[in-house]
């Protein structure tokens, strides 16, 4: 009985979005489609939750373990609340005729296809299958970024497509090299591509091949994570696509790419003769934090600004996992969860703000706390949370990371703290103009539309005040597996 629950959940995680995409492509009415989109995401979320209690046996293609369960749950939760936000958001886009009913049909089908691709990438036990899934996720998001067909949106989509393909090509070359290293010991065929076999027997692989492969994989999947210097697509894609897609990109897709990188890191780290992958990840992470921190000062577009903040936070998470050890990995995992929730909440708010104000230019948006008090204050709370101030969960994870870095590499910790402070003050500076300041505008927005944003921020605040024992134990267990 229990074994079948797990397999059912697994089938649900992949089948719901795949069938959903077909179904949504056939539904012309956008209200029905939006409601169905929310229902499908809720189903996926419940399947992801079921995997926490019961897991099917791993096969050569699919694998459910402690690590990907965390990623799946966070992903399904953000996917669900984004679908709720999207229902309110697209109604407005249709009214203002920025999108047509046909565009929306396409948009909903692509949304579910993206969910399918991400679940497949997270669940796959086969490094080739994982690559295919991440490529599919890239292609669906490219289509959605370009959906407005303005010149800026087309440029963003083209840039994303070209850089994304280059990244994905590098990652495939790295994957082929890993297979070559593995097939001498595991034999030819599928076995030499199964991640669990690779991770358990990588000690006997050829170290020089593994070294070379990790360089390709780090640059390849690092492009998708948005690490500096291969981040150039990320701000454009966030700024020019529909805001629900910005939320999904930051809250989900970046995590999936990071997950792929972590899977390979575990393979490489299993071989004692290989160059340690950690320092390379730490360097790229730190450079991303510092670079994004400085870039935040010059942003004039509100979505672009939060996109740079995503680069900063992905840098922090990569640094944490690169540093390794139980405490830093725990901090990285917690930070990833908190960042996903907070950043998607901020994008929900930003989506409504840009619709109400009719612009994304920060200079034209003023006094949100008086024009739309609830939205304005939620944005303030979101920025305070993402800046890493207590009592929010981001503070907890950043504090843990900084303290564990101080114990092991004090200079690195100082650089990290400098980066965090630069980014925080840039955000605080912009927030002042956005949220306060004089305005005589008054906006009305139904309160239910702010429910997803409120829910995310409440979760993040709750995690900052008190992390329940089972969650801590679970994350600690996962962190110990991440090395």
């Amino acid at each position: 009985m229990s074994a079948s629950t797990g397999s059912l959940a697994l089938a649900g995680l992949l089948g719901t979005p795949a069938l959903g995409a077909l179904l949504l492509a056939a539904i012309p009415r956008y209200r029905v489609a939006a409601a169905l989109n929310v229902t499908l995401c809720a189903l996926t979320l419940s399947c992801a939750a079921a995997l926490y209690w019961d897991r099917p046996e791993p096969s050569l293609y699919l694998l459910v373990d402690d690590v990907n369960t965390v990623f799946l749950l966070v992903g399904a939760l953000v996917g669900f609340s984004t679908s709720v936000f999207s229902a309110g958001y697209i109604a407005h886009e249709l009214q203002t005729r920025r999108l047509t009913a046909r565009d929306l049909r396409f948009y909903h089908a692509m949304y579910q296809l993206l969910m399918f691709a991400m679940n497949l990438a997270l669940l796959s036990n086969n490094i080739g299958l994982m690559w295919v899934a991440i490529e599919l996720a890239t292609l669906t998001t490219v289509m959605m970024v370009g959906i407005y067909r303005t010149s800026a949106a087309l440029e963003a989509a083209w840039k994303y497509f070209i850089l994304g393909s280059v990244g994905i090509a590098l990652a495939l070359f790295g994957t082929i090299l890993v297979y070559l290293a593995a097939q001498e010991h595991l034999g030819q065929g599928m076995v030499a591509m199964a991640w669990d076999r690779l991770a358990s027997s990588s000690a006997s692989f050829d170290p020089s091949l593994l070294n070379l492969s990790f360089v390709f994989l780090l640059l390849g999947y690092g492009t998708k994570v948005g690490l500096v210097p291969v981040h150039a697509w990320l701000p454009d894609a966030h700024a020019e696509g529909p805001t629900p897609i910005s939320a999904v990109l930051s809250g989900l897709l970046l995590n999936v790419a990071l997950f792929a990188l972590l899977r390979f890191k575990l393979i490489i780290a299993g071989n004692p003769h290989v160059l340690a992958p950690g320092p390379m990840m730490v360097t790229m992470g730190l450079v991303s934090v510092l670079f994004a921190g400085f870039m935040l000062y010059r942003r004039r577009d509100i979505k672009r600004m939060f996109a740079y903040s995503s680069i900063e936070h992905m840098g922090i998470i990569t640094l944490a996992f690169g540093l390794g050890g139980p405490l830093a990995s725990f901090a990285g995992l917690l930070h990833m969860t908190m960042h996903s929730l907070t950043k998607s909440a901020i994008f929900f708010g930003v989506g409504y703000i840009s619709q109400l104000e009719g612009t994304q230019r920060t200079a034209d948006i003023r006094g949100l706390t008086s024009s739309q008090p609830l939205l304005g204050w939620l944005l303030v709370l979101g920025v305070v949370a993402i800046g890493g101030l207590p009592p929010f969960g981001v503070f907890t994870s950043e504090f843990l990371l900084v303290t564990s870095t101080f114990a092991r590499a004090p200079w690195l910790a100082i650089a990290l703290v400098v980066g965090l402070l630069i980014a925080f003050s840039a955000l605080a500076l912009r927030l002042h103009g956005l949220a306060f300041g004089a305005t005589d505008k008054r906006h009305s927005l139904p309160a239910w539309r702010l429910a997803p944003m409120t829910l995310h921020l409440l979760l993040v605040a709750a995690a900052g005040v008190y992390l329940p024992g089972p969650v801590v134990a679970w994350f600690r267990h996962v962190a110990s597996q991440l090395g």
Binding site: W131, L136, S151, A169, F173, T175
Partner: protein
């Protein structure tokens, strides 16, 4: 494996590198498409030869996909797009031909220097095949960054994918999943690009990406 067998494999893989160089300096759209078709033929030959040597019949499917899809269908389709858009005259490059070729030679040197030492445990044959494949991949990158025009960037991307397929077919016994997925992803990628070219045409009356570079999203 007899010396003749590996010589033929070298000839085919080496001709792909050579054709990648030819792609680099084409300045006419139709010539570019023709050379790309040849590139795909060389890939098909190379993969088919690998299939014979490794006694891996599934690789023949990959060879067939390369031959029909990349060698015939895509060049024909792109030719039609080029004709319809009226952009068959000449191609703008960012860097002039001379420096590009020198840089390409340096990249091939890099591929050999990087690949040969790290694959010492592999057979001579696999090692050199991989070095050729990496060279084709790097030349594809070079082409993508030195071209302004959308169609030639797409060709650069596909020649890069050809290099990946060459690497995958050279890796002994690599499961079919990957080869089909690579071919399939090219198909999807092509559809995406097709839509893009269409939309770009709708907006700007040109497929020159310089028109797009003007819109930085933050122009104010």
């Amino acid at each position: 494996m007899s010396p003749l067998d590996s010589d033929i494999a070298h000839l085919l893989a080496g001709s792909m590198v050579l054709l990648s160089f030819l792609l680099l300096y084409q300045d006419r759209m139709f010539a570019l498409l023709n050379v790309f078709a040849l590139h795909a033929f060389a890939l098909a030959g190379s993969v088919a030869w690998q299939a014979t040597l490794q006694r891996a019949p599934h690789l023949f499917i990959t060879a067939l996909i390369a031959l029909l899809f990349k060698g015939v269908i895509i060049p024909v389709a792109l030719r039609r797009i080029v004709v319809r858009l009226g952009i068959h005259r000449s191609i703008d490059t960012v860097v002039s031909i001379g420096p590009t070729m020198l840089f390409g030679i340096a990249l091939v040197g890099l591929a050999i220097v990087v690949m040969l030492p790290v694959t010492q445990s592999e057979s001579e044959f696999v090692r050199e095949d991989l070095a050729f494949a990496l060279a084709v991949v790097l030349l594809g990158f070079l082409m993508m960054v030195t071209r302004r025009n959308a169609v030639s960037q797409v060709i650069g991307f596909m020649s890069l994918e050809n290099g990946l397929v060459l690497a995958a077919s050279g890796a002994r016994g690599m499961p079919l999943v990957v080869e089909i997925s690579v071919a399939f992803s090219v198909l999807i990628a092509f559809i995406v690009i097709g839509i893009f070219l269409f939309r770009i045409r709708e907006r700007f009356d040109t497929v020159d990406l310089r028109a797009l570079d003007l819109s930085r999203g933050e122009s104010l």
